[in-house]
Symmetry: C2
Subunit: 177 residues, 2 copies
């Protein structure tokens, strides 16, 4: 099956740590295979994401890239690129054009997205043309891409499972080390 990765552009350690963490956890929970991030390398961000992966399972990866242009140019030789931006064409029509036989890179921006990103992308896609959140845009895009099936995704080698409850919390732990 084709892989789906996310590229988060322009991470800044202090200002973006929580938003980028949310982006990474959404990428994982909604079925992506990993997240790359450019901007400042942030060991604490990586550790907190890896800690969640170890506890809740799966093979999700997080990796800093120092040169996002090289990454995208290399990616284009084998895969496709979708850039989420409030300026792009509407999600619902565009997501149907995203061919699932190719690996996919989903780009989410920071404050200012360089024009090359629009040019290098196969699709510039808007999740509404209103300002809101790259976290929400990523969630909606992955939801439509995976057609809602991501909501039932199972994660291998989880040490902790949540058992859905009408009220309160129920957590099961396995004895896997």
């Amino acid at each position: 099956m084709a892989k789906v990765y996310v590229l988060r552009l322009g991470h800044r350690i202090f200002r973006d740590q929580r938003i980028t963490t949310h982006c990474a956890l959404v990428a994982r929970a909604f079925g992506a295979d990993g997240i790359f991030y450019s901007g400042q390398k942030d060991v604490s961000l990586e550790n907190s994401v890896r800690k969640v992966c170890k506890k809740f399972g799966g093979n999700f990866e997080i990796k800093h890239v120092s040169n996002w242009k090289s990454l995208l140019k290399e990616w284009k030789s084998k895969g496709k690129i979708a850039h989420l931006t409030m300026y792009g064409l509407p999600l619902e029509k565009q997501v149907k054009k995203v061919a699932k036989k190719y690996d996919l890179m989903v780009i989410i921006g920071g404050e200012k997205v360089p024009p090359e990103v629009y040019q290098l992308s196969d699709w510039n896609i808007s999740v509404t043309n209103q300002p809101h959140s790259e976290v929400a845009a990523l969630a909606l895009f992955l939801d439509r891409y995976f057609e809602g099936k991501e909501l039932h995704k199972k994660f291998r080698d989880a040490k902790v499972f949540i058992i859905p409850q009408e009220r309160g919390k129920k957590v099961m732990q396995t004895d896997k080390k």
Copy 2:
């Protein structure tokens, strides 16, 4: 038509400003009528959300509440409450139970959600049982609640419109003051 409001619990000025801003903008873009937030009153948060509303239109409201328990108890006399939590019952079945004839309060938590929230809520709903983001959970919930129609919502009295483009940015300004 019934109203939909969001209640964001436990806002902390420094740590949560960007996440709460994203929650508010997602609430607005995905069709809610307003957001209440408890915790620390944050004038800068309110101003930045109101600035977006003024520019992009609509009647979205943001309001600090000093006593969320009173708000919820009063709310229950006329409306319903859905609490988004990774410990709750799965979104897709639960959202169908949310009666649309009543005003709805959608609660999203901070770090620690008090047990009363689970008790006062009519539905405790999980958007996956994985840890991710209240921003994404809110977006997915509103998307399912409004059945995808929120993606086409128009905002009255907008001063600025984004015209969807295949590449690049196109912004139209009206001369409304």
